[in-house]
Structure formats: C-alpha cells, structure tokens
C-alpha cells in the first residue's frame, strides 16, 4: 500500500505563511540504529543473487537448444523488490447493525524488472506493467521460503520483461517518431533509510463495533436515506524497498479512517449521496464519538433536506466554492493534469504540457504538493508519506508559483524537460507507480473574510444581472470510497449547492446541477479567496491504483461558472414505505448526542 505515515513531519515553508507544524526529524537517515529485519535481509540477498545470475554468460538452467545462440542473454539493468507487510482491521455497519468485522495480515511483494537501457526498456509506452510481478510472501520470517518465493516471482517477471522488450523494439521500428523522446527511467541516487517497523495492530473491535452501530443508527431516523454504510479501517503497515541501485528503505505507516456514506433518491429519481471521512494516525486518535455523531447527524439531515430541495436552472454566473469544494476541484481539475506521465504518450490530453512557465492561475494563487506534511493546521493529512513507491524520498514540489506553472508531479518516468523523480511515484500494491498527488495545497495572497467573500459574490451577481449567485458547499469526485473508478477529468458533481440571493432573502438549498466548461476557464476566473483553508482527505483512484490523498484550499469566488442540468437517475423512489425502524439500537457508548427516533 502506498500510504506512509511516520512519527515526524518535516514541513516545507508554505507560501503565505500558512501555519504548519515545523518539527525536527527524530530519526536520522542511518541504518545502523535499527536491526535490519529478516524480511529485508532476505530481499537484499535474493536481489543480489538474481542480479548476479540473471543473464550471466553461463546461463545456468535453461538449456539453449534453440536455433543460433541469440547473442548473450540480457541482464536486467534494474531490479527492485518492494514488500508491503500490512495488518488491518475493517469493520462495516449498515442500518445500525454490523455487517462484517475482519482482521487480516498480508505480506505482498512487488518485483520490478527492467531490461534494455534506461533510455528504452521493456516498460516503454503501453508496456509499463510488464516490469511488475506481484506475489504473496510468507507471513512469517521464514528466510528460505521468502527467498524461494522471490526467486519464483523474479524468474516469472524476467520472462515477462524479455517478452515485452521484444515487442517494444518491434513497435519502435514501425511507428512514427515519438514527440517526447524522454528516457523510460530516470537516474536517481540510491537511498538507505531503515526506520523501525510497525508494532502489531491493536484495535478494540468490540468497542468500535458499538460505536459503528451507533453512528450508522443515526440513519434510522431518516428512513428515506435508503442506503448507508459506516466503515472503520485501521492499518499498520511497514513497507520495505530494496533495489539493484543500492536503495534500502524500510518505512512504517499507520492510519485509521472512518468513512461514512449515505444515499437517497428524490421523487423525480435523482440519486444523491453524501460522504464524510475522518482520518487519524490510529483508531484511538479518531475524533470522539460525540463529535462524529454531531457531524453525521448534520450530514444525514442535510441529505434528507436535499431530497426535497428544488432543482435549480442551468446557470452561468458567479459562485463560491467552499474550501472543501475548492480542494476537491483543484485535485480533480488541476492536480490530475499535472501528473508527469500525462505529459507524454499518444493517448494523453496533455492539457498543461505546453504551458510550463506560463500563467495558468490568477497571480495570487500558488499550488504545492507536499507529502512531507503530516498535518495541516492540526488536521491529519491522508497524503503524507516518507518515501514514495519507487523508494524516493517524499519532496515538497512547488507546482504553481504566483499563478505560473513550474513543474509536474514526477515519478521515475521522465518527460521532456524533467529527467528526475520528485518523490511522487505512487501506487497501490500490485500496480506500477506513476506520478500522483500527495497533499495538494492551494495558497492565496488575496484573502478576505467569509462575510466579505459573500458580499463580493452578491455584488458580482448584481453586476452580471443575476438575482442570485451559487454557493457550492460540497462537490463529489472520484474521491468517494465506494467509487473505485478512476476520476473522470471534469466530472465534478456538486452535492450541496445554495442560491445566495442578492436581495437578502435567506440562502436556498437546491440540487441537480453539474459544473461544465474547460478547466483553464474555470481556474482563470477565480477572483478572491477566503482566509481559512479547509482540508479534504480521501482516496484517489487512477491507473496506479487507489492511494490516499489530501487537498487543502481556501474558499474561492469564481466570477463565472457554467452549470447544466445534471443527467442522472430515473428510478422511482422506493414503492413501499420503509419498515418500522423505531427500535433504534441501544448503545452503551456514553457520549451520545440526540438521535432522532422513529420511522414514519
């Protein structure tokens, strides 16, 4: 798994002096302090044996009785073993009852084999996955079994890589010259840093099951919310990485996440959902039950209100995106397009490739991605890690400075003008790493208070001859945990939208719009921001799998945003009224907030 949370944060300085905990690293980068784990010793030994034996002149096992000894067998120029040793507890509740509660321990190895040269290897173009072979490892420190498993996996991976390299070479012969002639693999300095491994995971499952029943039980008070799920995931993981370049990294991480999702359907068939994620470094540090209950009660009420909210008309005018909405918007619309691999390849849109050094945002906005941050203003950040999945140290990357595009999120796949990784090669176990976001942080040099921002919205609406502006409180994206699909570039669907009337009427909750238009247009029409950034934590799915990410942004006033009627859902709401739910399950958890009782 890709998330790495460590015991210290090494914060970079942020533009606009947004407060972030500056802590001195407590662990130096030396391996002498920590005893090298058996798993790592086995990985190291077997990796060096494979490098020595594979493709060596005296091909030891395979009898080459094929026609003409085909030159010397090819040695891999790069080999890496990464192992994820993860213990997890997952508990799920629905409708106020536990539906499953499981504990697991997995050890998985990703073996990466590269043959050819860094300039052109078996991963070229569409063959990226040919470098990777994944296998379960022994759960115990049985060195011989670990080594034999790695041998089996490496042997299979080497065969796959040989095959792919042949295809790559053939394709190079028949295709037109590629626009971006960058190498397939960057050259990096090896890193050695062996941090202490994670202690065993301990979660009081019975207590958490009781908490989850109570949280999920909230939805019994809202019978029209026909689906809800509350999930606790707690993981202790240690990631080990060794490579033929000499890198040796062991990094622990622990994370706990409480995810709540609920769905309802309006009378006209429109489906609506809300979700909320609570994040901490361990289950014990998640917010207290009372705080969670208050938030989820509000979420349930909001979703229930939304069901009967009027549908708003297509609109082209000013709007405010809340900090949370702006964070999601930047993650989707800007962040994904700044991933390095999207700047090369025949299938990529390359929206920003040619805009390097040019203004893509108003000059008062800057954007950085900083996975080294563990928290932001006291809030835990999901996108924190110490080393990326290619063994590179996490780095703060200034993507946009004063509105001008500076660089991309780089894995070890170079693109024109950027030959090295900047520590953003991330992947889920079993996938090839690509450039991904960690903690995307949007900062502003033109901030006003919320009150002032609202006044500016009304003024702008009046100027454009509108009776109201829109306030986007929450928008959805590929962040939703249940949606495993990769994010559709512009599919940002507003979940909670209000009309803010210029004549002083109270704000009115509406539904049924989606935001359309090009990202550049939307980004360049940002007029001002508020002064207190919000954190959005979530899971992001893309080609290299699901990785945890964060986005941080202040609320933003946009002079012009275009919306259209949202096309979705034609099913009728449930025919028969829901069954009586008046027996809300009693819970022993003391800090209960008022839970509405009774069905209809």
């Amino acid at each position: 798994m890709s998330l790495r949370v460590a015991v210290f944060a090494c914060a970079g300085s942020l533009v606009c002096g947004v407060a972030a905990a500056q802590t001195v690293p407590t662990q130096s980068s030396t391996s002498s302090v920590v005893q090298e784990p058996v798993l790592m010793q086995a990985m190291d030994t077997e990796l060096h044996r494979a490098m020595a034996d594979l493709g060596s002149a005296s091909e030891p096992v395979a009898s080459s009785n094929e026609k003409s000894a085909e030159k010397a067998p090819q040695k891999p120029y790069f080999l890496s073993y990464s192992a994820a040793d993860a213990e997890s507890v997952t508990i799920t509740a629905q409708y106020g009852a536990i539906v499953n509660s499981n504990q697991s321990h997995d050890r998985t190895a990703d073996v990466q084999v590269r043959i050819g040269t860094p300039e052109l290897d078996n991963t070229h173009d569409t063959h990226r996955a040919s470098a990777l072979t994944t296998m379960s490892l022994p759960l115990t420190d049985d060195r011989e079994a670990i080594e034999r498993t790695l041998w089996f996996t490496t042997n299979r991976g080497y065969g796959k890589a040989l095959d792919a390299l042949e295809k790559v070479k053939t394709e190079q012969q028949v295709r037109a010259r590629e626009e971006d002639r960058s190498p397939d693999f960057s050259r990096q300095q090896p890193v050695v840093d062996i941090l202490p491994t994670e202690p065993p995971l301990t979660v009081d499952r019975a207590a958490w099951e009781a908490r989850l029943r109570q949280i999920s039980g909230i939805f019994r008070g809202y019978p029209d919310i026909f689906y809800d799920t509350v999930v606790l995931q707690a993981t202790h993981e240690t990631d080990y990485f060794v490579s033929s370049e000499g890198s040796k990294v062991a990094a622990p991480n622990h994370v706990a996440r409480l995810i709540v999702e609920a769905r309802t359907r309006a009378a006209d068939g429109m489906d609506m959902f809300r979700d909320e994620t609570f994040e901490a470094d361990s289950a014990g540090h998640l917010p207290a039950q009372a705080e969670v209950m208050t938030k989820i009660e509000a979420l349930a009420k909001g979703l229930n209100d939304l069901r009967t909210a009027p549908i708003t008309e297509p609109y082209n005018g000013p709007a405010i995106l809340s900090g949370r909405a702006a964070a999601v918007f930047f993650h989707e619309v800007l962040g994904h397009r700044l991933e390095g691999q999207r700047q090369r390849g025949d299938e990529e849109g390359e929206t920003f490739t040619k805009l390097l050094g040019k203004a893509i945002l108003p000059s008062f906005l800057s954007v950085a991605d900083d996975p080294t941050l563990k928290t932001y203003d006291g809030h835990p950040l999901s996108g924190h890690y110490l080393f990326d999945d290619e063994g590179q140290p996490a780095q703060r990357v200034q993507l946009v400075q004063d509105g001008v595009l500076q660089t991309f999120l780089m894995s070890r796949l170079p693109v024109a003008g950027f030959s090295e990784s900047n520590g953003h090669g991330r992947a889920q176990t079993g996938k090839m790493p690509t450039g991904r976001q960690g903690n995307l942080i949007v900062t502003s040099a033109k901030t006003v208070s919320d009150t002032k921002l609202r006044q500016m919205l009304k003024a702008e609406a009046r100027k454009q001859g509108k009776t109201y502006g829109l306030y986007f409180e929450d928008i959805s994206s590929g962040f939703a945990v249940t949606t495993r699909r990769s994010p559709q570039a512009f599919q940002v669907i507003p979940l909670v939208v209000y009309r803010v009337y210029v004549d002083g009427r109270p704000d009115e909750l509406v539904r049924g719009v989606s935001i359309v238009g090009t990202p550049q247009a939307a980004l360049s029409s940002i007029v001002a921001t508020d002064d207190h950034p919000e954190v959005f934590n979530g899971l992001c799915g893309a080609e290299s799998g699901t990785v945890p990410v964060s986005a941080v942004a202040p609320a933003m006033l946009v002079s012009s945003i275009e919306t259209q009627r949202q096309a979705q859902g034609t099913s009728r709401p449930p025919i028969v009224p829901p069954p009586p739910l008046d027996d809300v399950p009693s819970t022993s958890t003391p800090n209960t907030t008022g839970t509405p009782k009774g069905g209809r």
Binding site: A50, L139, D583
Partner: protein, 546 residues
C-alpha cells in the same frame, strides 16, 4: 462394495417433513414479517403485483489457509450475511424470469437486529420488483417476435414446506491445520525421499478451505426453511517443468462434510510425497507417441467421475431453452428422452437422500432443495436410456413438476442441479478382471494400450500409462484425449468396474458423483502441441543443509 447393493439405498429416503412451523428463529420471523408487508403493499398503481416473492438469507462463514515452500502465506476468515430477493411478475405460464435467474442482493446484518434485516430486505425487494417489471415487459415484447410459443411454463407451483434443521458450524483446528500445511508444502526440501530433485520443484503449496453456509428461506407459498451445508477441502499443488520446458504438476486433495472427514496429517504427508515422486517421474517420462492412437483406454474411477461430470451430468440438468426455440432443454441431451445415452449395462440415479457412502459423508446430500421442494431418488438413466431429467421449479417440455433439484449457488437463483449421482453397472467387473480385459484387448490387437489414473481440467490426462500386452506399465506425458464425447460414453464403453470412486465438489453447488472404472473401446490419445515455456532463467536459492 458391489454396485448391485446400491440399488437398495433409495428405500432410505423417506423423512419427516411435518415439523410445526418454528417461529422462534428471530431471523425467519423478521423475514416473514417483511414478506407479509411486501406481499400486501408492493405494487405500483396500474402495474402488476408480484405473484411470487422469495427471501433467502445466506450466512456464509469461510476459512482459508495456504502455505507455500514450508511457510504460511495466507490465512483468511470471513463471516458475512447476504439477503437475496426474488420477485416474479406475471403468472406461472409466463413470467418475468430469465434463464439467468433474477434477484437482488443486499448485505445483511451479522447482528441479529430484526430492524436492520427488514430494512435490507425492503431495499432489495424494491429493487427486485422494479427489475422484474422491466424484465416482464421486455420479455413479453420479445415473445411476440417469435412464431413458436415456449414449450413449457415458466414456473411451477409447490406445496409449502417447513423444515428447520440445526445450524451448521465451522469447526476446524486451525492451528493444527496450519502446521500440517506448512509441513506438507515444505516436504520437497525436508524429506530425504524427494530432496534429490528439490531444485526442480518450482512451486509447492498446500491449502485448506472451509465453506459453511446456513440458509434461511421464506416465500409467498408459505415455505419456511432453515438448512445448511459445510464443505471442507484440502489440496496439494506441486509442479515445475520437464527438461524440454513442458509444464507439469500434480494437484489433488480430499473433500468432506466435516473436518474429521478430511484426510489425516499422515495421509496428507503421504499423498504429498506421492505427488512429488510422480511429478518427478513425469519429468522423466517419455513423451506420448507423436502419431495418434485410437483404441482401448481404461479409466480409473477418479477419471471416470470426471468424464461423467463433464459429459453427462450437465446435460441431464434441465435448463430452460432459449426463447423462440422448440427445444426441451439446453445441452447434448435435449432430444434424448427415452433414448440410449449410455450402454445398457449402466444406470444412473440421483439420490440426495443418501448422506454417506462407504464411510464418506456426501456433500451433495440434502432433504429439501433451495426452492422448498423435498427430494426423492430420481432414476435418470435406466439400462442406458435417459428416463428423467433433474429439474427444479422451472419446467421443461414433458417435465412440468420439480423433482427437488432446484439448487442455488451462493447469491444465485436456483437452477436444475444434480445432488448425489450414482453410476451403477448391472454387470460390474473386479479390478483384476477389468485389467485382464484390457490386456486381452492389447494382445488381440497386438499393440500397447492405455490406462489413465487422473485427469486435469478439460479431461486432459495427468497420469497416463502405456500398457504393453504383457502388462508392463510406462508413465507417459504430454498427451490429450480426443473423441472422448457423448458418443464415446453411449456406445464406446465395453465394461465397468465394481470399485466406486466418490468425487465431490463444494462449488458452485455441493455435488457428489460416484463412478466405477470404465473400459473404453476407442479413445484417441494424441500429443498435445503446447508452447513450452523457457526453463528458469536462473537457479533457485541453494537449499539449506539438512
């Protein structure tokens, strides 16, 4: 056991069905309450009401452990409940159902929380009803495009049944089994008998897998069921390559209805060693002759059971034919009713009431099927002729009623599926007599013949012996069978043995096939021309000194 004596077994099948409805199971009570509410209220004004609704709750408990190269690599346990709601619109003659089997699924609470359970049922029912309305409209429109009306009704009524069986529990000494798997999967390097070729063993793993299912069913016919089953299995999987690159492996295990029914630790070790040794023999075995062989092949009971499971069983399970055709069922025997499909000395009975056979607990045994129909023995093939199909509540031509074979895979609708299939010979030969007959054929034809012990997937031989007229057996590799088809089992079986082999499967539905050895007159044995992968590019790590 002589096959003849099996004919007596069907007499055991009478069982008491008339238990008073026991409403003290909170799960069944909640299901009945929600079913009653939906039956009364579920209708969109102007549209049809359902004429049949069935609720099924599946409580699934699984445990799996795998060891590889002498170390545990995976251990998982899960316990989950799922509800499945089936709604039928229309009437018995023509309704919303499709061949797929239609239903809506929802996760159900592990807590015995009736409110949460009824809420999940309510949600799934709404979904199932809307899907059924759409499916009914689409199906009626499609039927109008065909000249030929369907050859049978869509569904058949059934008497209500109440059967409350004790809950089935997962009982396995997990630590003991983990130790067994670790030991077995490491034998290739720890056992002196096989250590000489340990480096040629590319993979060696052992696993144990348990599935325990308790099913709660209520339907609008008034049926109330609580029944379940357990499947325990352990497997060994070893393999590697021959010097020419051919992939070779041995993989087998035991299947049982209880943990105690699985093989002992000693038996597991013994079998693992045998597998390793036969793998090594295969590596050094000659390739089968490059030119085709057409002639006698003796199949062990194990191999015969695989043959019947592939060629006969699926074709006597009556699946509804495609709309617009006049066929009776799908498959090879759709127009074979009362015609020969086997030689006249073979008969086939499906008898799920038989719970044990020669000390084996039978996985395919049950009292009432998943559609609430009690089961009785069915004479499928009598003296070679197909006399009955196995069928659930979806009729086919000439078979308007269920004979208790509506069986559902996990989360699936019920389909016609076999339970305990017994293939019986009226004239069984002893193993010696059968072998003598094979040798007689070899002498008569003046050539070597073949004998097969085990098959892999697709009826490919795993352990195949060339047998010379003087009885010498030579293991060969790289063969496939050809012309092993319905014609071969109809008119190509010369004789059957008397030593039945019990083959069992847990998935997709628990099923047992009991088959004797078979002597075929004319099967093609040919060389498989598969790609040979490269041998390992570098040697495995050096084995530790013992």
């Amino acid at each position: 056991m002589r096959m003849r004596s099996l004919l007596l077994i069907p007499a055991l099948c009478s069982f008491a069905m008339a238990q008073a409805p026991q409403a003290n199971d909170p799960i069944l009570t909640a299901m009945q309450q929600e079913l009653a509410r939906e039956k009364a209220d579920l209708v969109i004004p102007g549209m049809q009401r359902p004429y049949f609704i069935a609720y099924r709750l599946e409580d699934l408990h699984t445990y799996d452990a795998i060891a590889s190269y002498g170390a545990l690599t995976r251990e998982t346990e899960s316990h989950q409940r799922v509800v499945r709601v089936e709604v039928r619109i229309g009437n018995y003659a023509s309704d919303s159902s499709s061949a797929r089997g239609d239903g809506s699924l929802e996760l159900a609470p592990m807590d015995n929380d009736p409110a949460a359970l009824t809420y999940a049922l309510w949600s799934a029912t709404d979904d199932a009803y809307k899907n059924a309305l759409r499916a009914y409209a689409a199906k009626q429109a499609t039927l109008k495009t065909f000249q030929t009306p369907p050859t049978a009704n869509d569904f058949t009524p059934a008497k209500s049944v109440t059967l409350i069986e004790p809950l089935v529990e997962l009982t396995l000494d997990r630590d003991d089994w983990k130790r067994r798997l670790i030991a077995a999967s490491g034998l290739f390097e720890t056992s002196p008998e096989v250590r000489s070729f340990a480096n040629d063993v590319q993979h060696s793993s052992a696993s144990v897998s348990v599935l325990v299912v308790n099913r709660y069913t209520v339907d609008t016919d008034g049926t109330v069921l609580r029944h379940g089953y357990a499947g325990y299995s352990d497997d060994i999987n070893v393999g590697g390559q021959a010097p020419d690159g051919m992939n070779l492996g041995r993989s087998n295990g035991s299947v049982a209805t209880t943990a105690a029914g699985l093989e002992s630790a000693a038996a597991l070790n013994k079998r693992t060693l045998e597998d390793l040794i036969s793998f090594n023999e295969l590596r050094h075995a000659p390739l089968v002759d490059p030119e085709d062989y057409h002639g006698p092949v003796l199949f062990s009971g194990d191999a015969s059971a695989d043959v019947f499971n592939r060629l006969l069983v699926p074709n006597v399970e009556a699946d509804r034919p495609d709309m617009g055709t006049a066929a009776r069922t799908r498959g090879a025997y759709q127009s074979s009713y009362k015609t020969p499909i086997l030689p006249s000395f073979l008969s086939v009975v499906d008898d799920p009431a038989m719970r044990t056979f020669e000390g084996h607990g039978l996985l395919g045994a049950y009292k009432v099927d998943d559609e609430g129909v009690p089961v009785a023995p069915v004479d499928v093939v009598v003296r070679g002729k197909l006399m009955n199909y196995l069928i659930g509540r979806e009729p086919v031509k000439d078979f308007p009623d269920s004979n208790g074979h509506g069986r559902a895979g996990l989360g699936q609708g019920a389909h016609s599926r076999a339970g305990v299939i017994l293939i019986k010979s009226l004239d069984p030969l002893s193993a010696e007599a059968l072998h003598a007959k094979l040798l007689a054929l070899a002498k008569e034809q003046g050539r070597d013949v073949y004998s097969v012990e085990t098959l892999g997937g697709e009826l490919a031989p795993r352990l195949l012996y060339r047998v010379s007229p003087d009885g010498k057996r030579t293991l060969v590799r790289g063969a496939i069978f050809d012309e092993l088809d319905q014609r071969a089992i109809r008119s190509g079986i010369l004789a059957a043995g008397g030593k039945p082999y019990v083959a069992q499967q847990v998935m997709p539905v628990p099923q047992t096939t009991i088959a004797p050895e078979l002597l075929f007159a004319d099967i093609t044995v040919k060389r498989a021309n598969e790609e040979q992968q490269k041998l390992p590019y570098y040697p495995p790590p050096v084995l530790p000194a013992n």
